[in-house]
């Protein structure tokens, strides 16, 4: 185990960009994403489908498609991963970062016993022998709430429900006691009733094990109360980054505000039709100049279409956003951006 240092954040992402060749020229899937994640901190990454959230975490994990051209740096505890040789980089990431994917049905290999899938990383990276690895795997399966952990260890994935499979995946991700757990839409494919259980489990594990965690979701409700900070992504860019309560209470970026107003609310009667943000996500192949949200933004001015808004940092350095016409600090964005919904019906 590396001793967590106070000098370096656990994770530092610096000017990360990623482009994939497409039929209509290179698609810029990520553009200039930078952020840091301290030790033992939970971070939410939020954005619409196609915003580049999955690509961001895959690039961090070095499992982006091989044809993707990646620039920028990812540092783990101060070490630039790109400076390591491929083998060391993969091993480092595999040991220190655990990842849970969106679809537990396809993330577990149906041909391989559960036990092996849970323990293979710990056998490789921690050098555990068969017996120690099995004990650890069964303990982890128990810790993620699987009733018959020993039986589950010998079973095959198809014998379990979706929720159980995702618990197994989480145990798998914890095999090497990672310092960072990344959950990419870990509950999206599950029944609504199971979603909350899994999210609560992730939160409990994060706090009990003092890990950092990245919760990727398109649903702001998921990160509320479960994360310390939130990053909002739009069109492959980081558009806002703030402590969670602050982002909910006073978003500065117009897109964040629109997302917040599109959120289902507890005070609404059940089955109210969700307000969605009108318009299309931006084209990644042919980005317009200026703010990518401009075509859909109710507050857009000419400057928005002309130039990319620079990243603004709040006085205390804890709130960053890239918007030409930010909402006022301290005023809930909810009211000021809630557009005449009637006009769009």
């Amino acid at each position: 185990m590396t001793v967590p240092s106070d000098i370096h954040p656990l994770l530092a992402v610096e000017n990360l960009s990623c482009a994939v060749p497409g039929p209509a020229g290179a698609m810029r899937i990520l553009t200039d994403v930078s952020f840091t994640l301290p030790h033992a901190t939970a971070l939410g990454i939020v954005g619409e489908s196609g915003a580049g959230k999955s690509m961001l975490v895959k690039t961090i994990m070095d499992i982006a498609p091989s044809r993707a051209a990646v620039t920028g740096a990812v540092r783990l505890d101060g070490t630039a991963l790109q400076s390591l040789d491929t083998r060391t980089r993969r091993t480092t990431l595999g040991r220190r970062v655990g990842m849970v994917f969106q679809n537990p049905m396809t993330s577990l290999n149906p041909f391989v016993r559960v036990g092996r899938q849970v323990e293979e990383a710990s056998r490789k990276h921690l050098g555990l022998d068969r017996r120690a690895a099995r004990e650890k795997a069964i303990a982890l399966l128990r810790a993620v709430g699987i009733p018959d952990a020993a039986e589950c260890y010998h079973g095959f994935p198809h014998q379990f429900s979706g929720g159980m499979k995702q618990r197994i995946m989480i145990a798998t991700a914890l095999a090497c006691d990672p310092e960072l757990l990344i959950a990419d839409e870990a509950t999206t494919a599950l029944d609504a009733t199971v979603q909350k259980d899994i999210l609560d489990l992730l939160q409990t594990l994060q706090q009990r094990r003092r890990m950092s965690m990245i919760l990727v979701t398109h649903n702001l409700g998921v990160v509320a109360g479960r994360t310390d900070e939130v990053i909002v992504m739009y069109g492959g860019r980081l558009v806002e980054h703030a402590p969670t309560e602050r982002l909910f209470a006073s978003p500065r970026h117009r897109y964040t505000a629109a997302l917040l107003s599109a959120m289902p609310r507890i005070d609404q009667p059940a089955h109210t039709r969700l307000a969605t943000i009108p318009g299309q996500p931006p084209s990644l192949a042919h980005p317009e100049p200026g703010c990518p949200f401009a075509p859909r933004c109710p507050a857009a001015i000419d400057a928005c279409r002309a130039a990319m808004p620079p990243m603004t940092v709040s006085a205390d350095g804890r709130h960053r956003f890239a918007c030409h016409v930010p909402l006022d600090a301290g005023i809930s964005g909810d009211a000021s951006v809630r557009q005449p919904e009637a006009a769009n019906v």
Partner: protein
């Protein structure tokens, strides 16, 4: 895996029963169709100048003047007693002949299968692991070339190179492995190689595309995120999920191997069933044709049973029923 053995046995039994109608259909057709074939066994035995009376007498002696249904029932009765009749000319028991000849063909077919798999599977893994790389594109070009070569051409080329130019292997002939094991291998080498050329290229193609497809699966991405090495991922995560597809092709390729054995056996003068059936058809030796056809049906039924059971062994989600 509770009493997996008995489950598999029961599953095999059900499928064998299901194969019976096919068996009856094919073997009866063989009996009936012999009436429609030009010429007749009697004609062949007696020669061009035989009189109609002589032919009729011979047909009566062998029972060929009876209706097809009766002849078929007669044959079935014999089959039940393990008696498949006698060959028309040498008057040898057909059952004995069949066992000897089938053993030869099986040896060649199984060796060809083994050689092809041992070549194709590892190469396919290496190719798929670096899809689009140098190894991959080279092998892809080589195998499409090999696939375009018909068996009768590879037979000629291989025997020219290995027995005429290099003089490493005998050109034709055969010796029983019980008499001379090493000599037997020398004799079957060329037939086996000839069949393997096409076969290994074919297995490679199928296995490579299946490996490439498996590598797109989410669980492979998960394995990569765990920091596992490529060779570990190929062997532990990609191999088994790719096998059912290969197994299907393995079953189907039995048709190719049996078909290929006609060409290969007659070229290399190897006394297998391909060679035997060709001669038997030429001579209207109906008992032999009949026996080989039945054997072929049995082989196919058995191969498909094995393939089915293979799926259940490979894939934990498939139940043998």
């Amino acid at each position: 895996m509770r009493s997996a053995g008995s489950t598999y046995l029961r599953a095999a039994g059900t499928r064998l029963l299901a194969g019976i109608p096919v068996f009856v259909l094919v073997t009866f057709a063989a009996t009936a169709l012999s009436d429609l074939m030009p010429g007749s066994a009697a004609q062949t035995i007696l020669g061009e100048n035989a009189t109609l009376e002589q032919i009729a007498a011979l047909n009566a002696e062998y029972g060929y003047d009876r209706p097809a249904v009766i002849r078929y029932l007669d044959w079935l009765g014999g089959l039940a007693r393990g008696d498949l009749g006698y060959t028309l000319f040498s008057r040898q028991p057909v059952a004995e002949l069949l066992v000897n000849r089938a053993a030869v063909t099986f040896e060649i077919a199984l060796l060809a299968m083994l050689v092809s798999l041992l070549l194709a599977i590892p190469l396919a893994m290496v190719s798929a692991a670096r899809a689009g790389g140098l190894v991959d594109s080279t092998l892809s070009a080589v195998t499409s070339f090999l696939l375009s070569i018909p068996t009768f051409v590879s037979v000629v080329v291989l025997s020219y190179v290995f027995s005429i130019v290099l003089r490493w292997l005998p050109a034709t002939g055969w010796v029983s492995p019980f008499v001379d094991p090493l000599g037997n291998l020398m004799f079957v080498a060329l037939p086996v190689l000839s069949l393997s050329v096409h076969q290994s290229a074919y297995f490679f193609r199928v296995a490579r595309s299946q490996f490439a497809a498996t590598l797109q699966e989410d669980f492979v991405l998960v394995a990569r995120a765990k920091g596992l090495s490529t060779s570990y991922i190929m062997l532990r995560h990609a191999l088994r999920p790719s096998l059912p597809q290969v197994l299907t092709v393995l079953g189907l390729s039995m048709t190719f191997l049996l078909g290929g054995s006609f060409i290969v056996e007659s070229y290399f003068a190897v006394p297998g069933i391909g060679w035997t059936v060709l001669n038997a058809v030429k001579n209207h030796d109906l008992p032999v044709v009949q026996a080989i056809l039945s054997l072929t049906v049995v082989i196919f039924v058995v191969v498909f049973i094995l393939v089915d059971l293979g799926y259940a062994l490979i894939d934990p989600r498939v139940q043998a029923t």
